[in-house]
């Protein structure tokens, strides 16, 4: 690992992404996320939240700018280097990306299988996650037969299954009620305590209304720090870092 600065997990420098024909999804976005930080990414629909998250796991490549994750320049990463990095990233996609004909357990296990985890670990971890998300009874159900909210929780479970260093959650609570949202947020917090870096893209202001985490807002592909109350600056960030 060629970590330039180990405490920086995500570093974006003047990143732009334009989709054909002329959709400027991201414009000159610069962002630094420190290891162990939980960060909320908000903004209107179409502001570029998903695009930003996809850049971080190289589901998309930027037109301009530098994207560094865990000290590695994604543009120069390929082959096994990229594969190994991706195993350290857990992404819960907005469209879930579940395999509808595979069972819930198989869907979750996939993230651990590609990392060659032990069978026993996979089984234990899958049960544990389903337990925490109150889906234990769906263990052997094909994912395609679940409700939207259930599918959403499965995609979150898969993102967290392999104990990733970086969690990218795209609208993780869009289909969930208040109570279930709390379950999911508890799970994220658990991973935050474990030391994982967590970036959550969301419209749901309630998720970050307690003001304990940094919030950034995308507006038409441009980053600007929202003048919201409860926004915590670099100060709290360094406190968190120190606590690790």
């Amino acid at each position: 690992m060629t970590a330039k600065s180990p405490e920086i997990m995500v570093d974006l420098i003047k990143v732009s992404k334009t989709y054909p024909p002329r959709v400027h999804a991201l414009v000159d976005v610069s962002l630094t996320v420190h290891a162990g930080e939980m960060l909320f990414l908000t903004g209107m629909s179409g502001a570029g939240k998903t695009t930003l998250l996809r850049l971080l796991c190289r589901g998309e490549t930027p037109d301009k700018g530098l994207v560094e994750v865990a000290g590695q320049d994604l543009d120069r990463l390929s082959g096994s280097g990229l594969q190994q990095l991706r195993r350290r990233i857990g992404m819960a996609y907005q469209d879930f990306k579940l395999l509808p004909r595979h069972t819930v357990a198989e869907n979750i296990a996939l993230a651990m299988e590609v990392a060659y985890r032990k069978r026993s670990f996979i089984r234990k971890r899958t049960r544990e996650l389903l337990e925490k998300l109150r889906l234990a009874d769906k263990y052997a159900t094909p994912a395609g037969e679940l409700s939207r909210g259930e599918q959403q929780r499965i995609s979150i479970a898969r993102a967290l299954a392999n104990m990733p260093d970086l969690v990218l959650a795209d609208e993780p609570t869009g289909n969930l009620d208040r109570e279930t949202t709390a379950l999911v947020m508890d799970l994220f917090r658990e991973h935050e305590e474990r030391g994982a870096t967590i970036i959550i893209a969301t419209h749901d202001r309630e998720l970050f209304s307690d003001g304990s985490h940094r919030v950034i807002e995308l507006t038409a592909g441009q980053l600007r720090s929202p003048e919201e109350p409860g926004r915590t600056g670099e100060q709290s960030l360094h406190n968190e870092e120190a606590s690790q």
Partner: protein, 295 residues
């Protein structure tokens, strides 16, 4: 270990999900193996039969007069100049008479009053029992004909010529069916793999996003191809054996089978056929994933 488990699990899942096209492929491979190994079996048995015939095969060179010892030596040199041979035997007219008398057995009396040297002396040439020397037998005979003092050269000409043109034809058929086998198996395997790839496109995309290694993605396809080749060749060979056994029972005691023992492939050949088709299918599927996964 974990890797292997994951791969095997993935392969089984693949097979389960596309079982109908897998079945078609399996059938095609079995059939190709059956066709190829059928011709190959016939070819091998024909060769065996040829070798057995070769045991009794000799060229008889009739001479106009009894060769003296130095002349015998000269003949020997000249014969050896053309080709190595198994054995050269000089038969004087006296010996020929004795032999003939013995062959006649009880009917010896027909020889009564015949001069003892009415049969010409001859040289019996036993060619080496290899296919290449046997196929040259006609040219050998032509050569012997040109030696001085030779009246006539005799061998089962018609029969041997026909036999060896048959062997040559069989060889072409075996090679063609072998090529057919290679073409159909690689094509069919590549085809089913492509189907699997298409039906699993989303899944493969997801695997890549999850950080699956190339081996993790490709090994199941390799294994799938290998299994296809293994199962297909075993099925084909079993079918051939059943057919072979049926023929043997059906024609048990018939003159043809008594003359030439009809045998199945020896174990090493069976293993070689199975190994070759397994390898063929595995590499076929492996290379088709390379193209499609753009690795």
């Amino acid at each position: 270990m974990n890797f292997l488990r994951a791969i095997v699990g993935q392969t089984l899942r693949n097979l389960r999900q596309t079982w109908s096209s897998q079945l078609v492929t399996l059938l095609t491979i079995s059939l190709s193996v059956l066709i190829f190994s059928f011709f190959f079996l016939v070819y091998i048995n024909v060769l065996n039969a040829g070798r057995q015939l070769g045991d009794n095969l000799r060229l008889i060179v009739y001479l106009d007069e009894e060769p003296s010892k130095p002349l015998q030596e000269e003949y020997r040199q000249k014969i050896l100049k053309f080709d190595r041979v198994e054995k050269i035997e000089f038969v004087s007219s006296q010996q020929a008479y004795e032999r003939f008398r013995k062959q006649l057995g009880h009917d010896q009396d027909v020889l009564e009053g015949m001069p003892r040297d009415f049969l010409p002396p001859s040289i019996e040439v036993y060619p080496i029992r290899s296919l290449s020397s046997l196929t040259r037998i006609k040219r050998f005979s032509d050569y012997l004909q040109t030696l001085p003092g030779v009246l006539k050269v005799q061998y089962g000409r018609e029969w041997i010529d026909r036999f060896y043109s048959f062997v040559k034809l069989m060889r072409v058929v075996v090679i063609l069916s072998g090529m057919l086998l290679i073409l159909t198996t690689t094509f069919m395997v590549a085809h089913t793999i492509r189907l699997t790839l298409c039906s699993r496109e989303r899944e493969l995309e997801l695997l890549r996003l999850l950080g699956a290694s190339n081996h993790y993605i490709r090994a199941p396809f390799f294994l799938e191809g290998a299994l296809q080749g293994l199962a297909g060749s075993v099925c084909g060979l079993v079918a051939l054996y059943v057919f072979f056994d049926w023929i043997r029972l059906r024609f048990a005691g018939s003159a043809m089978l008594n003359l030439f023992p009809f045998t199945f492939f020896p174990v090493p050949v069976i293993l070689a056929i199975v190994a070759a088709s397994t390898l063929l299918c595995a590499s076929g599927s492996f290379s088709s994933t390379r193209r499609i996964l753009r690795l």
